[in-house]
Structures are given as structure tokens and as C-alpha cells.
């Protein structure tokens, strides 16, 4: 074999490896997509009401044009499946997807494994907004929106904005300053929220339950409002996969490689904040999804954001759908706040993954 031959075969090997790499991940995307549908199917069949899965599927399949299998099914069951379970499952999917995607984005931007979607004080901002909304004597009589989601959203966006403005030094935003500003503002907002909680009287129970996160009483209106935010925000983030990959190197190096680092940071922060705020304002602060799902994906399939982002999106959706299913069913007619389920199930699974893949260094 000549030098040229071995050079060619070496090049061929690299190209081939890349093809395999990509193909595996595309299979993964397809696989997780399928898993998502299975999760939706499973979650629809189970619930606190004793509705047989056969009836559930009769109702669901009748949604397809031309099929009508549900003529003999009582009104209450149809309402349960189509107006209670299905919107709730889809909302769980959207929220899980957005939290996981935002988490992956923050982890990429900050190059910090502890980053989660609530880093910039967003959770505390949303919490304060919601608490104020609960305590105000009036409520918004607007369509699907109540005062609580509106103020929670505003609170989240405002805190992120304040943190960004505070951390800015001239034209740049140093990441460490951003984190610290987020921690400081978060603590400040949390203290105000605590004070309001203490003086909230009879609303205390409702507010605390909201803050723990939950999907009860979800309806189609919320799904319809959330969908465009999540899709648009996630799409924007995905379009920046390549700059995100490059930014895993030093910021200076990335800048030298042609990435407009400050602009990418701003756009990604904005998009990730937007989808997090939108998710959180309807369901409260659900933790663990944003930090565990992207890490698990990264541990299995690597950190190439072209795949990490869509896989996180799909994985996050399935994860929260299944977690919410457990939240609804594990205690009979009572409901466990879904944040407890995500922590309970997510943490041990994550530890298992860490033990299994010791090669990965953060």
C-alpha cells in the first residue's frame, strides 16, 4: 500500500465514521419519536378514572377522519379522554420538550453541567408573578388566559431581562457574571415571594401547590397558546446548533472561528428564556427535567447539538408525559405534584447513567 492509498483509506474511514455517527443519531431521533407516541398512547389509557383502555382507543381512533368507533361510548368518557386527558398529555409533552431544550441550550451556552432552564432567576420571577396574581383581588376574564399565567410569564421574562442587563459589561456579557446575577436576583425575588406567602392567609395552599408545579385542570386553550411559542423558540435554537457546537471551545476561539459570540448568546438566551417562561407560566416550576434529560441524552448520544437539541426535545416530552401519568395514577384519586415524580425518578436514573458511562468527562 502506498502512502497515498493509506491516506485515502484514512480519510475514507473518517468519512465513514461520520456517516455511522449521524445515522445512529438519526435512528435515535426516529426511535425517540416513536417512544413519544407510545408514551402518549400509554398515558391516555391510564388515569384516575376507571376507563378501560379499549374505550380510550375507540375514542382516540375515532378522531381519524372516516372512523367512527365511539358511538356507544358515554359522553362522560369521551369528555374524559378528549377534553381532560389528551390536552393534559400534550401540555406535558410541550412543557417537557421546552424545559429539556432550554436546559440543553443553557448547558451549551454556559458550558456548565449544572445549568438548568431556571438559571437566570426565571423560576423565582415566575413564582413571584404567580403569587402576586393569586393575591390580587381581581382576575383577568380573558379567554384561556388567566391573570396567573400572564403575570408568571411577565415575571419570568422580566427577571431574565434584569439579570442580562445587570451582567452586561459594555458590549459583552460574561457568563459567570450572568450566573451570579441570576443567583442574586433569584434569591431576592424568592424572599419577596416568601414574605407574600406568610401573609397570604387562605390562598397559601393554592400558591404553594402552584409553585410545586402541576398539570391538573389543563385544557386545550393552554395547549393552543403554548404550541407556537415552543415550536418557534425550539426551531430558532436548533438553527444555531453549529455556533453552539463551536462555542464549546473557549469563547475567544469561537469568536476567532467566525462565530458572533455576543449575538449568538443574546439570541439563544432570549429563545431559551422564552420557551421556559411560556412552559412555566401555565404549569408552575417543574424541576429536574431541564437538567437531567439533556445530560442523559448527552451521555448516551454525545454533545453534537444538531442531535442533542431534537433528542432533548423528544426525550423531555416523553419524560414529562410519563412522569405526569404517574403523578395522576400512583395515588388513586389524589394527585402527587409532578415535580416530586420527576425528582424521584429522574435522579436515580441519572446516577445510574453516570456510573455506567464513566468515560464521559464534563
Amino acid at each position: 500500500m502506498t502512502i497515498e492509498d493509506s491516506g485515502h483509506s484514512h480519510l475514507a474511514k473518517i468519512v465513514w465514521e461520520r456517516v455511522i455517527y449521524r445515522r445512529r443519531r438519526l435512528y435515535a431521533v426516529a426511535g425517540l419519536f416513536l417512544l413519544l407516541w407510545l408514551a402518549i398512547g400509554l398515558a391516555s389509557s391510564l388515569g384516575s378514572a376507571q376507563v378501560s383502555p379499549v374505550m380510550v382507543w375507540q375514542v382516540l381512533l375515532s378522531l381519524l377522519p372516516g372512523l367512527n368507533l365511539s358511538s356507544n361510548i358515554p359522553d362522560t368518557v369521551v369528555t374524559i379522554v378528549l377534553d381532560i386527558r389528551l390536552p393534559r398529555i400534550l401540555l406535558a409533552g410541550l412543557v417537557g420538550a421546552s424545559l429539556a431544550t432550554a436546559g440543553a441550550t443553557y448547558q451549551g451556552l454556559f458550558r456548565n453541567p449544572l445549568a438548568d432552564p431556571y438559571l437566570l432567576g426565571i423560576a423565582q420571577g415566575a413564582g413571584l408573578g404567580a403569587t402576586i396574581a393569586f393575591l390580587l383581588p381581581f382576575s383577568l376574564a380573558a379567554t384561556a388566559l388567566g391573570l396567573i399565567p400572564v403575570l408568571a410569564f411577565a415575571g419570568a421574562i422580566l427577571s431574565a431581562g434584569i439579570v442580562y442587563a445587570v451582567a452586561r459589561v459594555g458590549k459583552t456579557v460574561p457568563m459567570t457574571t450572568l450566573i451570579l446575577a441570576g443567583v442574586a436576583l433569584g434569591a431576592f425575588l424568592a424572599s419577596i415571594t416568601s414574605y407574600l406567602l406568610v401573609s397570604s392567609g387562605e390562598q397559601l395552599h393554592s400558591i404553594v401547590l402552584w409553585l410545586m408545579g402541576g398539570l391538573s385542570l389543563s385544557h386545550w386553550g393552554e395547549v393552543k397558546i403554548l404550541l407556537p411559542y415552543i415550536l418557534v423558540g425550539s426551531l430558532i435554537i436548533h438553527l444555531y446548533s453549529r455556533p453552539l457546537n463551536i462555542m464549546q471551545l473557549d469563547e475567544e476561539q469561537a469568536q476567532q472561528l467566525g462565530v458572533n459570540v455576543e449575538r449568538v448568546k443574546l439570541i439563544l438566551l432570549f429563545a431559551a428564556t422564552l420557551i421556559t417562561a411560556a412552559a412555566v407560566c401555565f404549569v408552575g416550576i417543574i424541576g429536574f427535567v431541564g437538567i437531567i434529560v439533556p445530560h442523559a441524552i448527552r451521555l448516551i448520544w454525545g454533545a453534537d447539538h444538531h442531535f442533542l437539541l431534537p433528542l432533548s426535545f423528544l426525550g423531555g416530552a416523553s419524560f414529562l408525559i410519563l412522569a405526569d401519568m404517574l403523578a395522576r395514577t400512583v395515588m388513586g384519586t389524589a394527585e402527587v405534584p409532578v415535580g416530586i415524580i420527576t425528582a424521584f425518578c429522574g435522579a436515580p436514573f441519572f446516577i445510574y447513567l453516570l456510573r455506567k458511562r464513566k468515560r464521559v468527562i464534563f
Partner: protein
């Protein structure tokens, strides 16, 4: 001379007998049943030497009982939630429901404090450390409520007023019972009681509200669970209640369980909405284990059995 002396003696004896019997009468009026040792509803033994003049109530239900027993003038401290009767609002406030201000209480020098089971762990021991007399009421059933009225009557010396009130209440309860006791299961509509709509929670089978519903001839659809559980909307649809009773008096008219029950589209498929059997009951009337519970029972009877 001897005759006058005899007359005098008889007079004196007569006066003596008269004054002794008068004294005895007076003693009866001021002492009634006290001093006494009363066992309260937490099993504590409470010693009372004489009728208390300065009474503090740590719960709205106890305040209502005090006023109903005509002890209103002796009440020197109430909680911030004690709003019935209206005279109660003019009394000195000693704190919230679970957060009474011990300093304030002590400064008012009460000789009787009416507490509840909620105060058992920390408040009552603290009050006892200040050598204050505490009578704890912990009614969980209708019978307990009547007993608590009797206990307060005994502790305050107003035994007759207590007896009168208990008899009146028992008569009204018996009237309702006579109307509903003979109903078969089919004639007892299923009832869904909404404590609050966001989060959605209801009352379980072990609560006072449940007893009120059953006495009024209904069946609580969540009688099989206990406490104040949060419930899923789909279970309500599955159990399909015939009557929905919402708790009112909290929040605004726009943000109330009644508003939610009448406007939530997914409830339209239930029996209750189809028949238009959605009602509101004042949360404090049904929630306070006091004299007004009988009004709650009668209201519930009208909701569940308008035909009776």
C-alpha cells in the same frame, strides 16, 4: 316578759332560717355547677373554681358558641377570623387561627381560654406554662359539636343556656333526620362538594361536611377517601354527581368555585349540570363546628332534596 322573749326567739329563729335559705339560694345562683373538674375533648382534665369572667376564644366556632350561650360580655379576646356574630368583631384580636399571640393573651388576664385540637402541640403547653386555664374543644362530628356546647356551658356556669341551645339544635336535627332517614340508596343523590376549584379539592368521608351531606339525604362521591384531598377532574366525570355544592364566601365572585362549576365546559356532561343542581353554601356556616351547623344542614337539605 317570758311571752315577749318567746316571740322574740321565734322571730329570731324565723329570721335565721330565712336568711340561711336566702343565702343558700344566692350561693346556688352564683356557684351553679362550679367548682368542677371537666374533661375536655382532648382528654385533658380542666379544673374550674368559679365562673370565668374573662374568656378568650382561639377559634371562630368557639366564639360563636360563647355568644350563643349569652356569654358575649365576658369575651375579652378572639381571633382575627371571628366574624360572627357581628359583636365579636369588636373584641380584641389575639391572633390568627393557628398563630395566637401568647403575649397578648397573657396581657388580657383571661381566666378561661377555649382552644382547639390545632393548638394541642405547641400553644396549649405554652399557655399552661403561664398557668392559664385552657379548655380544648375538638369536635369532629355533630354529636361532638353538641357535646362541646355542653362542655362550654359547664365550664362557664351557663349550664341552662347550653341545655336550651342543645335541645333546640337537636330538635332541628331530628326533624331533618325524620325526613331523610327512610330514603333508600336510589333516592339519595350523589353530591360533589367543591372546597376550592384551583387546585380542585373536596371533602372526604371523615369530615364534618360529609356528615352534613349524609344527614341531608345525599351521598358524597368522595366518601371513600379521607381528609381534604385534591382530586382529578376525570374522576368527577366518572362518578357523575347529581348535585354540586360549592363553598362560598372566599375569593371574589369571578374567582369562586361556583363560577368555575357553572362555567367549566367539561362539567356540562355531568348529571348536576344537566339538571341545573349547582349551589353555593357559605363556607363558614358549614365549616365551623358551631351552632350554625344546623343552618348548613337545612340548606343542604333544600339543595339535595328540594322536594322534601
Amino acid at each position: 316578759m317570758l311571752k315577749t322573749a318567746k316571740y322574740l326567739l321565734v322571730w329570731l329563729l324565723f329570721l335565721a332560717v330565712l336568711s340561711v335559705s336566702l343565702l343558700a339560694c344566692e350561693a346556688d345562683e352564683t356557684k351553679t355547677n362550679l367548682p368542677a373538674e371537666i374533661i375536655d375533648q382532648l382528654g385533658r382534665t380542666v379544673k374550674l373554681e368559679k365562673p370565668p369572667e374573662r374568656i378568650i376564644s382561639l377559634a371562630p366556632s368557639n366564639t360563636e358558641i360563647l355568644f350563643a350561650l349569652r356569654l358575649g360580655e365576658r369575651v375579652v379576646g378572639v381571633t382575627e377570623y371571628c366574624d360572627f356574630p357581628p359583636q365579636a368583631k369588636e373584641k380584641e384580636v389575639v391572633g390568627g387561627f393557628s398563630t395566637p399571640d401568647i403575649e397578648k393573651i397573657v396581657s388580657l388576664s383571661p381566666d378561661l381560654i377555649l382552644a382547639t385540637s390545632m393548638h394541642q402541640k405547641s400553644v396549649i403547653p405554652e399557655l399552661e406554662r403561664h398557668n392559664l386555664t385552657v379548655l380544648a374543644l375538638a369536635p369532629k362530628t355533630l354529636a361532638d359539636i353538641l357535646e362541646s356546647i355542653t362542655l362550654i356551658g359547664r365550664a362557664s356556669g351557663h349550664v341552662d343556656e347550653a341545655k336550651e341551645l342543645v335541645e333546640k339544635m337537636q330538635a332541628r336535627i331530628d326533624r331533618v333526620k325524620s325526613l331523610t332517614a327512610g330514603l333508600s340508596l336510589q333516592d339519595r343523590p350523589t353530591v360533589f362538594y367543591i372546597v376550592w376549584h384551583d387546585p380542585l379539592y373536596t371533602v372526604g368521608g371523615d369530615q364534618l361536611h360529609n356528615e352534613v351531606i349524609e344527614l341531608a339525604g345525599g351521598e358524597n362521591i368522595f366518601g371513600d377517601i379521607s381528609g381534604f384531598p385534591t382530586v382529578d377532574l376525570e374522576v368527577i366525570l366518572e362518578r357523575n354527581p347529581g348535585v354540586i355544592v360549592t363553598s362560598g364566601g372566599h375569593g371574589s365572585a369571578e374567582n369562586s368555585p361556583l363560577k368555575w362549576a357553572t362555567s367549566e365546559p367539561r362539567l356540562k356532561v355531568t348529571e348536576a349540570l344537566k339538571r341545573g343542581s349547582v349551589y353555593e353554601i357559605d363556607a363558614e356556616t358549614i365549616g365551623r363546628p358551631g351552632p350554625r351547623i344546623i343552618e348548613a344542614i337545612e340548606a343542604m337539605l333544600r339543595f339535595i332534596h328540594p322536594e322534601l
